[in-house]
Amino acid sequence: MSTFYSESAAPQKQVLEDGTEVYRTCAWSPPGCHGVGCGLRAFVKDGTIVKIEGDPDHPITKGRLCVRCLSLLEVQYHPDRLLYPMKRDPKDRGKDKWERITWDEAYDLIESETGKCKEKWGANSLTYLSGTGREGGRYMRAISSRILATSNECYTQSGFSCMAPRDTVCSCIAGAGYIEYDYANGLPGTYDDPEYELPKYLLMWGRDPLRSNPDGTWGHSIIEMMKRGTKLINVDPRMNWLSTRSEYVMQLRPGTDNALAFGLLWVIIHEDLYDHDFVDKWVYGFDEFKERVDEYPLDWAAEVSGVPAELIRTVAHCLAKEKPVGLYMGLATDQNPNGVSIVHNLYALAALTGNLDIPGGTNVGYTITLDFGQSKFCSQADKLPPAPLTQEQRESTIGIKKYPIYPLLVNKAVPDELLNTLETDEPYPIRFCWVGHTNPIAPTNSAQPNRWHKALKKMDFTVAADIFMNPTHMALVDLLLPLTTFLEHDGYTVPLMGEHPGPVAAMIKVIEPLGECKSEFQIAHELGLRMQPEYFAAPGNKYESSEEYLNQDLSKVVGFDHTWQELKEKVVITRRPDYKKYERGLLRPDGEPGFNTTTGKIELYCLTFAAIGGDPLPVYEEPRFSAYAKPEWAEEYPLILTTGARDWASFHSEHRQVATLREIKNGPLVEINPKTAEKYGIRHGDMVVLENPWGACQMQAKLTPIVTEDVISADHGWWFPEEDGEEPNLFGVWKANINLLVPHNEIGPFGFGALYKSLPCKIYRADN
């Protein structure tokens, strides 16, 4: 792999005639974003940013920006931004009784409270809760295991239903990183580069990348590709805008993804459409896999998924005969207890059709290079301070005995088991919590956030760090630390956390932090020196300085041979792709061709799953509370609720303070088919109650035919910063809290995947 950069791009800093300084930089977080690293120009006058524009010299985004960056100054200079460390007496939780303190006092409190907690409740009685996608993910493991010295770091989404199921399959069946459609982001001519072949088709499965730009991919690349002739196959229960521009739309019943995937595979295998050459050379366990697929024939798949058999057959032929085809999997595959099996089958689809790692096909990733927590997904080359954890602590990580794949892969506590522990003190109490870059009582991540709310009240002490106060902070936190935005500290972005080629983009400090804000790196660095000085003061350790951190981190990015200073000067340096890595010995540490698995092949009969007592082959699981799985509920709860569709104007529970963004979307909506609405006497704009056996909430009705008559789609992430923040209102966090309707601990066999997108529900007008 090699790199390149533009010779003609503007310098990183320019000074205009009137003295305004113009800085090129790239976006990540805070405020929240998935880290595409879109190119920005920040215009600075007398130390204040006066304007943000897109950077035309960015090789992929070319000046284009979404509304969140276009309104970034409203975040940057918002009157509600947290500017100083604040503490509150734990007896005043839920009240707006904050007292400004110094950083030294804040660090003193953290040090003394962690010490007291360990002494009173045990070495592992602390937890660090994280959110999704944000830059803070880089530094969470330093704070949790290296500074607080607990192994109970936890991503609170039930079933770890974001990326873990997908990365699990990529890691277990192929020994490599994530697979992603090739959008030529690593080639100098991008979509028109001679080395690139435009995909004939893109198979987009449960994803709306235009709004979500997941994990560093540029969502609007698919518009560029479609303008050039790529056709889209969209798998989504909603007839969204992309579906209206698709060649084929498979509008499946929510949650039945694997029935549809089996149907496609059944046709491809039974009609002998698969790539025999690829299967002979690179697939292990095809016969066993085929036997399993035999159990799920086409007509069954059509009946279960609601997608007509003829359409499934047509799409299967298209996938098998056209080349290249890119596969683009979304969160819907994770947010399903059947998720690991779904991704297993989608991986098989990409492999059996010979589309893996070819130009315009589906790229095979390297392992993650961001320090996301020393998991199997991450490489280990850097000089990190050791985690001062005992073996006993590691083995007592909550939930790992029940779900042994967690320590193998994500190396964190199991979220559903952690909530059980918080509630019951079994197997041991947890009494100290650090809330990092997340808002677990907002309807954005945790299932049953009311239970998290109640359970976290038991903490002796809770710390959080953020740019704004959110409902979780107001309800539960005793010490609140102010963070810098991405305009106030250094960092970088890289596609898919380092797994994929494309722009490595410098996120460059443009102005001094407001107030006394600090970056998450700085907090880890300073707190590490205080609490674990023997490690954090060691010369050459990764946390010695921001530059040392970034240099060591960049050194792990495969094929990227540039320092932070070089990257900062060029702003963007692009990594070229390596196609057909499995033929070239690029996926295995021994340099031999093949995949980094026991057999050297893609194990469609997965030996890793078998070794941990799981099913080595994919299965279909009916959504657990559907009318078929639980017919006794069907009359009371006749609708299927799906949640989590993304919006332009927010990143999950963030951005609700920004007036310009609220003008685009002012509040939460539930999409209802007009015929369904008529049946229940609901008009457009009515406030409706959504209710199921786990909970209820209210939103405004949006009547739209993009959902079928049996499906409703509800927004997530809503709370209202303009409302009373104190208990019990908590900025209105319970009103539209759709996650109250998501059950706890209904997760897949490996502990991955939960039911956020396929739940029973009823609706009625709120004034009834």
Binding site: G63, R64, L70, I223, I664, P705
Partner: protein, 113 residues
């Protein structure tokens, strides 16, 4: 008479991202409730051909729009053109835009403030 300029909007590929609206508000320093370019929505509804939907976004300019004359005078492009995520807006003399529209032959509009 000076040549009339305008914006050619590709309503087939406009994804409805609202970037034009906010980019324009920034450029023209417009308060809440005021727009120099506004995104309107056509549909979605299911057409008589089952399974096919009509759904388009229609950005259109208001009297605040001066086609970013300051930016253009400095050699730049209008802010909505630069920031449009789908690159669905082009700036130019209306005559040239009309030719481009004719060549494209579908789902486009030319707007003039």
């Amino acid at each position: 008479m000076a040549e009339q300029y305008g914006l050619l909007i590709d309503n087939y590929w406009c994804t409805g991202c609202h970037s034009c609206e906010v980019a324009c508000k920034n450029e023209r320093n417009l308060p809440l409730g005021q727009w120099g370019i506004k995104l309107l929505e056509l549909g979605p509804w299911e057409k008589m051909e089952k399974g096919k939907f009509e759904h388009k976004y229609i950005p259109t300019v208001t009297s605040y729009c001066n086609l970013c004359e300051d930016r253009v005078a400095k050699g730049g492009v209008p802010s909505c053109v630069l920031h449009c995520l789908a690159s669905a807006i082009e700036y130019g003399p209306v005559g040239e835009l009309a030719q481009k529209l004719a060549d494209r032959g579908k789902a486009s509009s030319i707007v003039v403030p």
